[in-house]
Amino acid sequence: MKIKSLYGSVRRSLRHTKDDIQDYMNDPATQLRWKKRVGEIFIKVMRSILLFGLCFVILFPIIQQISMALRAPVDANNPAVVWIPENWSLMNIKIAVVVLDYWHSLVNTAKLSFISMILQLFSTALAGYAFSRLRFKGSNILFFFVIITIVTPPQALSLAQYLYFRNINMIGKETSIYLMSGLGMGIRSGIFIYIFRQFFRGLPKELEESAQLDGASVFRTFWNIMLPNARGAIVTVALFAFVWQWNDAYYVSIFDVSTEEFPLLTMQLINAAEGMYQALFYTGGLDLVGQNVWENPLFLALISNVSALLMMLPLLIMYLFVQKQFVESIERTGIVG
């Protein structure tokens, strides 16, 4: 009896729920909501697939190169080795280090990139601030010239610049790069001025006005108030300035900066890739490997790949450290104003 009534009540409540569900499903508002939710899930899935695929495309060559760098030279064309090396070895890296004169060039490249980055930061931040906030008659015309410098290819200027530096006896010295960076004419300085100008324009005017009412001079306002607030632009510009100088092979070769006493990674890498045999022969890299491996042309390709990896590795490690700030700086501020 008791069970029966319980059964009945359950059935009744079940029917109620069923009716409820039916009502719920037939309600146009619900249908719309469901449609929306299905659409959302669809977008989510598509987005994940796309982003995952693109990330894979980006990361694949890097992972592959690392895997290649760590395999023994005898495995260079071993078809059985796909991802994980059969014989682990640091031999390739050792050879590439010798070929590139790695530590020496690494220190030089880091020094050149760092100093030129600081100089570029200074010259472009000052100019960007002047173009955004210290406006005067004719500053628009000057800014138009900044745009022209962005558009003009370096090749149009290189010859005359080369002759100029030759006149003042600066060919083959890194000072030529510093001079250009310090005077706001370094690698893509125009873009940096543009970024800083847009950024300073985006900062609220009240910040400045209150400082000026308190009697701060223009320079103090810039140094103590505007610059600390421009951290986003500074991080972005610093990263680009450093990386572009690090990767630059054009100016460095035109001005002949990379010499035997001052080797730079990019030029060493290009020279090594062009004449791997000579590079191995003259640097004594040959002594590190057995002759049988040496006759294998794939081995040469392998070494130039490892050399490329060695050049990129410091940048990747550096990026790992600053990427959080870098991505955040885009997020918080919007460099484009």
Partner: protein, 312 residues
């Protein structure tokens, strides 16, 4: 608004304002001094000198450079006579221009699309963003040349009939996929990587400009029940459009700078007997880029792209 406030506050003490203006002008001169000196020394003078050189034959001697006036001969040489390998300056110039005109719209749409996606909220967003800017960092002519293995190595490989095995194709063959599928995947990935390495900075610029769109616009749209599609066309796109110009300029300059055309000019520059010719080529190149930019500017004006809703 801000300027009006400024005047009302400062109107009573006019002398102070004037002093401040003078101070501002002084500091503007100081701040701009390095750039102006650099511009004159390393841009304007070389720019004009290279124009001058392009009408001369240059001959470097120990005493200095001997110049002989040759009129437009260098330009005629650059456009009609120059041949290198199985290509020439003119062919490469036309190819690069066509490539740029076709690729830039694709690049624009792609980078805007990716920027919108990277702006959405999802798990792992920070990681994905960090990964997306890696190509910007690793984009180097030296690395590209080394990854090609260098000419000498490539030749050796060809002689022995071995293709480079350090690529995806090899791994896919190992995995036992069908040949046509492998060709398709490898081609696709190569192209995507090329676009991605070009798109890094445009994505960055677009992402930053989307971030700077006032948030209340999106909130209002959401309350009104707008779909994501409508929000994009009516809010995101109009607000981002001023920056389309920036991205186009950047992409155009970048395409030309990494093209075979600029390689040819550099090569001619390396040959000291051909300085005049290389200067002429550089000027042809600059005029082409500026011509395309002017064309785009007219186009943008006609279709009112690039004007902002809020400014003016």
């Amino acid at each position: 608004m801000a300027t009006v406030n400024n005047q009302t506050i400062k109107a009573p003490k006019k002398s102070g304002l004037k002093g401040h203006e003078r101070q501002k002008r002084f500091w503007a001169a100081v701040f701009l001094a390095p750039w102006v000196i650099g511009f004159l020394m390393f841009f304007l003078v070389p720019f004009i000198r290279s124009l001058y050189f392009s009408f001369f034959t240059l001959e470097p001697t120990p005493e200095g450079i001997i110049t002989t006036f040759t009129g437009f001969e260098n330009y005629i040489y650059a456009l009609n006579e120059h041949v290198i390998g199985n290509t020439s300056f003119r062919v490469e110039l036309i190819n690069t221009t066509m490539d740029a005109l076709i690729n830039i719209p694709v690049l624009l749409i792609f980078s805007l699309f990716i920027a919108v996606m990277l702006n959405m909220k999802f798990r792992g967003r920070a990681l994905v963003r960090a990964i997306f800017f890696i190509p910007v960092i690793l984009n180097s002519a030296a690395v590209t040349s080394a990854l090609g293995g260098g000419e000498a190595v490539a030749q050796l490989l060809e002689e022995q009939g071995i293709e480079q095995i350090f690529d995806l194709e090899f791994y896919l063959v190992q995995a036992g996929l069908m040949p046509w599928l492998i060709t398709f995947i490898v081609g696709l990935i190569d192209r995507i990587y090329a676009i991605l390495s070009l798109a890094g900075v445009p994505i960055l610029l677009f992402l930053a400009s989307i971030q700077s769109v006032p948030k209340h616009l999106y909130e209002a749209a959401k309350i009104e029940g707008a779909t994501g599609y409508e929000t994009f066309w009516l809010i995101t796109l109009p607000n981002v459009s001023p920056h389309i110009v920036t991205v186009v300029v950047y992409a155009l300059v970048d395409t030309f700078m990494t093209s075979p055309v600029s390689m040819i000019i550099s090569e001619e520059l390396g040959n000291s007997n051909r300085w005049g010719e290389s200067a002429a080529m550089a000027w042809v190149y600059v005029s082409t880029v500026i011509f395309i930019l002017l064309l785009l500017a007219v186009f943008a004006k006609a279709f009112k792209i690039g004007g902002s809703h809020y400014e003016d």
